[in-house]
């Protein structure tokens, strides 16, 4: 893809995919890179499966990159399975390993919640970084920070300096919830450093 890196963020509407996308885009901007992103708004956000994509590099033409991501950040386990399909072989999936939000069809027992993310990742030739994002988010101060914990974990895979991430968090996160998100980011980054 000519020096363009694609990161997709996948989760359930309401999990803060757009905020994570904004932080990521700000970080890439802080690195002086050209950035494009595409996001989902409207009805699809209401508890549905949501995907955002951020692309950065020397120059980015298209804002989308269907099924050709280098890194996928998944804020829920089933969405992690879905996120595997968005990855190029050799890519990495950063997934919330303990967050399960059952869709209606599973609640109604029409479909089964998938198992074996690790095996599926191996089969696809994708590196899996499974993080207890929910536990770390609670530790940071709110379970709602799963998105930013995972972004912290994914930051270890992305070529951005720490100061760029710090600037991005300042730029993209509202002040009221910034401190808790800074803690969440740090905890995620630390956890990934340990497992990596």
């Amino acid at each position: 893809m000519n020096g363009v890196t694609t990161v997709s963020l996948i989760g359930v509407g309401g999990q803060g995919i757009l905020l994570a996308e904004a932080v990521l885009a700000e970080a890439a901007s802080a690195e002086g890179l050209h950035v494009k992103a595409s996001e989902v708004h409207g009805m699809a956000q209401r508890g549905g499966s949501v995907v955002s994509t951020v692309r950065f590099g020397d120059h980015v033409w298209s804002p989308v990159s269907p099924n050709r991501a280098d890194v996928v950040i998944a804020t829920e386990l089933l969405e992690g399975h879905r996120g595997l399909r968005l990855l190029e072989p050799g890519g990495a999936l950063v997934c919330a390993a303990t967050t399960k939000i059952l869709p209606g069809s599973v609640l109604r027992r029409e479909e089964e919640y998938p198992q074996g993310l690790e095996a599926a990742a191996v089969q696809r030739g994708v590196r899996l970084l499974a993080v207890d994002a929910e536990g770390l988010a609670r530790e940071a101060g709110t379970v709602r920070a799963v998105n930013v914990v995972l972004l912290g974990a994914a930051s270890t895979l992305l070529p951005f300096g720490e100061s760029s991430w710090a600037r991005a968090l300042t730029a993209a996160v509202p002040e009221k919830i910034r401190a808790v998100n800074e803690r969440a980011f740090a905890l995620g980054r630390e956890a990934a450093g340990r497992s990596g």
Partner: protein
């Protein structure tokens, strides 16, 4: 009654359309008046066997017509050219849903602006909406084409445009009346994939309508409405509508391709004309609609460089503008060969992989408007939905909506449906912001026409789906300052519609109001008020499960709250619970209780 009818009447084109609609079995007609279309509905109103009503505007008229068509009654809706702009929103989605009983939209253009502010060419809407357009050329055809229009509408599951123009609508001619057609009304069937135009179904209907257009073009090739008429001169003329009559009189010796079904254009019929003559002209008023398509086939043609592109035509203008061109000697050489455009690539919409559970959007936890659906689905009414998050009420387990067409369409559709069936068989479900967008006009129209109906306005005090913007009911401006707000209850009072406003968080009160209004005669509104759950920052508490009492009966699961999960022995409540308490109200075993909780962070 047949015996009493004179065999031949001397009718205005508009009158002939009215007679023709009734002869073709139309039982419902609606319109907003507009010159030169007005007399169609006025004529229908004088005839037996058809209900005719004025609607508040052309958009509501088309939505009302859609309701009547769904109910199984052949329906005609009429308007002038600029009226079709007003009706464009329902039209452009109606082309996706198609019809049940035939639905014909008659649009009367006004070249020359005899009584209009512009002279737009309505044929562009046929192309835009990818639907067939019929163009009668005299009063008899106005009468006869109605039967063709309804048959096409039902066979191809499409709305049909029938275009008139001033001199046809207001010109008169003899019309031989024919035997009325025996029509079997199709019954209404709930069919979300056809009627609920949310993305996953609308994308499939888009495929359908693109394929339908291909099949319609084949029909245009075969139909006797499109005919090559031999002449004795080496000149061919393509024409439709009353302009055909002008051209025929101006050039009686020419060959003609007369188009009665002018969209989609029959390419092979066009090519056939070129086999007989070496020079072809398109004679059409206003836009080079046919001419451009002929040029696209790579065929040389005389068009708007000669025939005026504005104003009204007549035979003298046609003769004067075209005759000098035909005096010029034709280009020599081989006959031109048409290049037919290939069929378009119609792709499958992306499908989720089959091995993973889908995760469609759902109504939010804590959204008390879901209780409206749990009450509504027990009323055994068709439920015409609208545009907003509440479209999610169509999905399992709520299964409480039948359709969604376009912004504000629910009330007009309900009114037409109930009027066509003569009973209070349908409800409308519309949000507060959508009601202000264009539900009010539907309600005024339903009130004026004394339609039966139950209108449920889900008032969550915001424009939720787009991200919580203000609207006239809240008075909130884009900069979040407060302006004046309009009260829906008082608005209903003002237009003479019975209205009950209830707190949607009071389940017994809500249920009683909806049930009472569902049974009451006439038209009534229930405004269900509850703030958008996403804007309620404080949790009211959390629901606790008594696992001994829970027998997994499923009543609480049926409200479709994503915070309730079934376990092996009892349901469990996730952190998403806002403590709204609806599940507590629907549980019949007292297995769920609401424990007050501190303020959420």
């Amino acid at each position: 009654m047949i015996e009493a009818m004179p065999k031949t009447l001397f009718l205005m084109g508009n009158e002939a359309i009215g007679y023709g609609a009734v002869r073709a079995g139309a039982g419902f007609a609606c319109a907003y008046p507009g010159t030169p279309s007005t007399e169609i509905l006025e004529t229908a109103a004088t005839l037996e066997g058809i209900h005719a009503e004025w609607c508040v505007n052309e958009k509501v008229a088309l939505e009302t017509a859609v309701g009547a068509s769904r109910a199984g009654v052949r329906t005609i809706v009429t308007m002038k050219h600029v009226g079709l702009n007003v009706a464009a929103d329902p039209l452009l989605t109606l082309t996706e849903t198609g019809v049940n009983a035939g639905l014909v939209i008659v649009v009367a253009d006004d070249p020359g602006m005899n009584s209009s502010q512009n002279e737009q060419d309505s044929r562009n809407y046929a192309k835009f909406a990818k639907i067939p357009m019929l163009e009668p050329s005299d009063s008899q055809e106005c009468y006869d084409f109605m039967a063709e229009a309804f048959a096409l509408s039902e066979e191809f599951d499409t709305p049909v445009l029938l275009r008139s123009s001033t001199k046809l609508s207001h010109g008169r001619g003899q019309v031989v009346l024919r035997e009325p057609l025996a029509v079997t009304p199709p019954e209404y069937q709930k069919d979300l994939a056809k009627h609920m135009m949310v993305p996953q179904w609308a994308s499939l209907r888009t495929q359908f309508l693109l394929h339908r257009l291909q099949r319609l073009r084949e029909r245009a090739e075969e139909t006797p409405l499109n005919v090559v008429e031999p002449g004795t001169r080496d000149v061919g003329i393509i024409a439709s509508g009353v302009v055909y009559q002008y051209a025929r009189e101006a050039f009686p010796d020419a060959w003609f391709l007369k188009l009665g079904l002018s969209h989609p254009l029959p390419y092979r019929k066009v090519a056939e004309l070129y086999e007989h003559v070496s020079r072809v002209a398109v004679v059409e008023d206003l836009d080079p609609f046919i001419e451009e398509q002929v040029r696209m086939l790579g065929l040389p043609v005389i068009g708007k460089e000669a025939i005026p592109a504005n104003g009204e035509l007549d035979q003298d203008i046609v003769y004067r503008s075209l005759a000098p061109r035909l005096e010029e000697s034709p280009a020599g050489g081989e006959r031109p060969r048409p290049v037919f455009p290939p069929a378009p690539n119609i792709v499958d919409p992306p499908r989720p992989p089959g091995d993973l559970p889908v995760r469609p959007p759902v109504l939010c936890p804590g959204c008390r408007h879901r209780s409206v659906f749990t009450v509504l689905r027990r009323q055994k009414m068709a439920a015409m939905g609208d545009i907003g998050c509440y479209m999610l009420g169509a999905d399992p387990p709520l299964n409480a909506l039948d359709s969604s067409l376009c912004m504000g369409a629910s009330i007009g559709m309900m009114a037409g449906f109930n009027k066509a069936l003569g009973q209070k068989a349908a409800a409308a479900v519309i949000g507060d912001s959508t009601f202000f967008h264009s539900g009010i006009t539907g309600l005024i129209s339903a009130s004026y026409n004394e339609a039966d109906g139950l209108v449920l306005i889900l008032d969550n005090r915001t424009t939720a789906m787009t991200g919580h913007q203000g609207h006239p009911g809240t008075g909130v401006r884009p900069d979040m300052t407060q302006g004046p707000s309009i009260d829906i209850q008082r608005l209903c009072d003002g237009i003479g519609v019975r209205c009950t406003t209830v707190d949607a968080r009071d389940y017994p009160e809500l249920a009683a109001a909806v049930k009472a209004e569902a049974k009451a005669p006439g038209l009534g509104v229930v405004v269900a008020q509850a703030p958008c759950a996403l804007l309620v920052r404080e949790k009211a508490g959390t629901v606790v499960v008594d696992e001994e009492r829970c027998n997994l009966c499923g009543l609480c699961l049926d409200i479709g709250c994503p915070a309730i999960m079934p376990g092996d022995d009892a349901v469990s409540i996730t952190e998403a619970c806002t403590g709204c308490g609806l599940c507590v109200e629907v549980c019949k075993r007292g297995a769920l209780t609401l424990a007050p909780k501190e303020v959420a962070p």
